[in-house]
């Protein structure tokens, strides 16, 4: 599988009034073409920071971004000017599905207006504006292109199973159900024909039957188009449903990465093992993880999980563990046994 996105040792620090928040501490991630990668972790683990760093939308100048490499489709995103990313990459080659579609659709404009507005800027038919060109707001939207974009929108609404697409275009966001709105933003993420979609917990706000419908739809459409997806979630169940591979983060560090089946069959990091044990079980109450997630203003040195880890040794308290394993990667001095993989 060819590598589409490669992140090596990404560090993100937020400078706040209370001090430096060490949000990401050397995270590595790669996504192949057409691959769906789940980014799993609890609140505050850095999922959103990582997603935003890739999109280039971290708040400047409060955030400090460093990486050995942050390359997308062969281009080094850190070397590009932010205007260049906005023009050529964000919203075109990398698009985004938000958690709460109601918050990201404008309540005052119809679905059709908002989708055409997107296409005026980001349609695959539109050539990215030259540097220093008039903003698209001030330029014409040629009628011929507009008509073709509209046809593409209707076709996409059909693909995401919106009943009566023509009528849906005339509706305001509040006139649609939560599931319908989520279908609309999935359509908007697919319309620019991106290579990578970053989906930020797209089914968290939905009921379980609607969630199942949306996950099936998203999975089918991205696989059909060979679009890669970075799917952030705190829900291991949804990750199991649609991800090819899973990366688990804890307090700004990646702890384990593995193909989905191998991951659920035999987690190797003590944190991920505990996380899986904390899922509700049919045969009684789950086990919790003692302690709390550390403050990222003063994170523990070494492995950030060591204060809560039963296996922790002197090394864990001082040095960040190295990466071991090939397909099933774990960052731990005391990984749990892997049945299929020889010890590194």
């Amino acid at each position: 599988m060819t590598e589409l996105l490669a992140v090596r040792d990404l560090v993100v620090n937020y400078h706040t009034q209370r001090g430096v928040v060490r949000a990401l501490d050397g995270v590595s991630l790669s996504i192949g073409k057409g691959e769906v990668v789940g980014l799993v972790g609890e609140s505050g683990c850095g999922k959103s920071t990582l997603a935003r760093a890739i999109l280039g939308v971290l708040p400047a100048p409060a955030s400090e971004v460093k990486a050995a490499s942050l390359s997308f489709g062969g281009e080094n995103l850190l070397a590009l000017a932010s205007a260049d990313i906005a023009r050529r990459i964000r919203g075109r080659r990398i698009t985004f599905i938000p958690q709460d579609p109601y918050g990201s659709l404008n309540p005052l404009f119809t679905i059709g207006q908002q989708m055409l507005d997107l296409m005026q800027w980001k349609s695959p038919l539109a050539i990215p504006a030259r540097r220093g060109a008039w903003p698209a707001l001030l330029t014409r939207y040629p009628a011929a292109r507009r008509a073709r974009d509209r046809a593409a929108i209707l076709e996409m609404l059909e693909a995401v199973q919106i009943p009566n697409p023509e009528q849906a275009l005339a509706k305001l966001p509040h006139e649609l159900s939560g599931g319908q709105r989520q279908r609309i933003v999935i359509a908007m993420a697919l319309l620019p024909q991106p290579e990578l979609i970053i989906a930020d917990e797209p089914t968290t706000a939905l009921d379980v039957t609607i969630q199942a419908q949306i996950l099936r739809l998203l999975h089918r459409e991205v696989k059909r188009r060979q679009v890669s997806v970075l799917f952030t979630t705190h829900d291991l169940g949804t990750a199991w449903e649609i991800c090819d591979r899973i990366l688990v983060m804890y307090a700004g560090q990646e702890v384990e990465a593995a193909p989905t089946a191998a991951f659920f069959a035999a987690p190797r990091h003590p944190y991920t093992a505990r996380l899986l044990q904390s899922l509700p079980r049919a045969d009684g109450v789950a086990q919790d993880i003692p302690g709390e997630i550390p403050s990222l203003l003063s994170p523990p040195p070494g492995c950030r999980f060591h204060p809560r880890c039963a296996e922790a040794s002197a090394d864990c308290r001082t040095k960040r563990p190295p990466v071991t394993g090939s397909a099933h990667v774990v960052r731990c001095y005391h990984p749990l046994d892997a049945p299929g993989e020889a010890a590194a």
Partner: protein
């Protein structure tokens, strides 16, 4: 079922709109809660589960039907008699952080409930607060903190401590773990079971999360569009669901390590508009088994097994 601690008969609450139409959020619910059980109320958004909880304790007025607590109807109680019942029946809100006054310390929030509902002296109140604080696993130092200074999981503990201080018999928990990370959720569930045992409580556990309900409830009631469509012991209902809605709901829950839900056939469509409830069985528009009879006759909840009942002609 005459020995039920809390019982509803034909309970209804309708939200009236300005144009005269009504959302029939709770529309004829018969439910008997036995003393000492953990009864899960499950259903999707808008099915009326929170409205049911609020109508039960009288926060929302019952438009029809009765609520019977300990053998006596409670809707028409007033003054001290009402207050006495209310301190026994407590509602724990979904968002404990928002339910706490941001300008009051935790200690003051905990004390207030006792000032309103009891005649305890200051020293007795303080002792009671400390006792419940310890029961929910918080430290006395935290009494002087404000809600924003503690974590979401701790805010939920404070919310629990506030109602436990009144020594209630029934707790209605509205989505007690929604919005929490799984590891924190596990901690809160463990705590709830411990408190249930320690205080001999009866719990009504309102949740949309079937996995959580399965792990802690002794019995489950499934709601759809303002009605209870199936009840049963947790063991029976999850293993052998009888109502087609319960079946499709269970089939949609991801099982890490098991067959993938997205590869299966399951419930299509979305719940109908609660302003425009279908005739007959409310589920018939989405039901794979629907026949002509379902449009004509509204199925009643009928017993199918000693512990299980479903409202379906074909269950």
């Amino acid at each position: 079922m005459s020995d039920a601690l809390l019982e509803t008969r034909g309970l209804a609450h309708h939200f009236r709109l300005k144009d005269g139409r009504a959302v029939r959020a709770v529309d004829g619910v018969d439910l008997a809660v036995q003393a000492g059980e953990i009864l899960g109320i499950v259903g999707e958004s808008g099915c009326g589960k929170s409205t049911l909880g609020k109508t039960l304790i009288g926060v929302l007025r019952a438009d029809d039907g009765t609520v019977i607590y300990d053998g006596a109807p409670i809707q028409n109680l007033k003054g001290p008699a009402l207050r006495a019942v209310r301190s026994r029946l407590q509602y724990v809100y979904q968002d404990a952080g928002a339910a706490l006054d941001p300008r009051w310390t935790i200690g003051r929030s905990l004390d207030e409930a006792l000032v309103i509902h009891t005649k305890l002296s200051r020293a007795e109140r303080s002792a009671r607060v400390r006792e419940t604080l310890a029961a929910v696993g918080l430290h006395e130092d935290q009494l002087s903190l404000y809600p924003h200074e503690i974590s979401g999981g701790q805010q939920r503990r404070v919310g629990l401590a506030r109602v436990l201080a009144l020594h209630p018999r029934v707790l209605i928990l509205d989505e007690p773990t929604s919005g929490l990370d799984v590891s924190v959720q596990a901690t809160i569930l463990k705590l709830l079971v411990a408190l249930w045992r320690q205080y001999g409580l009866t719990l009504l556990f309102i949740s949309h999360d079937l996995a959580v309900v399965r792990s802690i409830c002794t019995r489950v009631a499934v709601m759809y569009l303002g009605r209870i469509v199936e009840t049963g012991s947790t063991a029976d209902l999850f293993v052998n669901p009888r109502h087609p809605y319960t079946k499709s709901l269970l089939a949609a829950v991801p099982q890490p390590g098991g067959p993938r839900v997205i590869d299966q056939a399951w419930l299509e469509g979305e719940p109908p508009d609660p302003l425009d409830i279908p005739s007959g069985c409310r589920f018939r528009n989405r039901c794979p088994m629907a026949q002509r009879r379902c449009a004509a006759e509204d199925p009643a909840l009928r017993a199918l097994a000693p512990t299980q009942a479903a409202a379906c002609h074909f269950a």
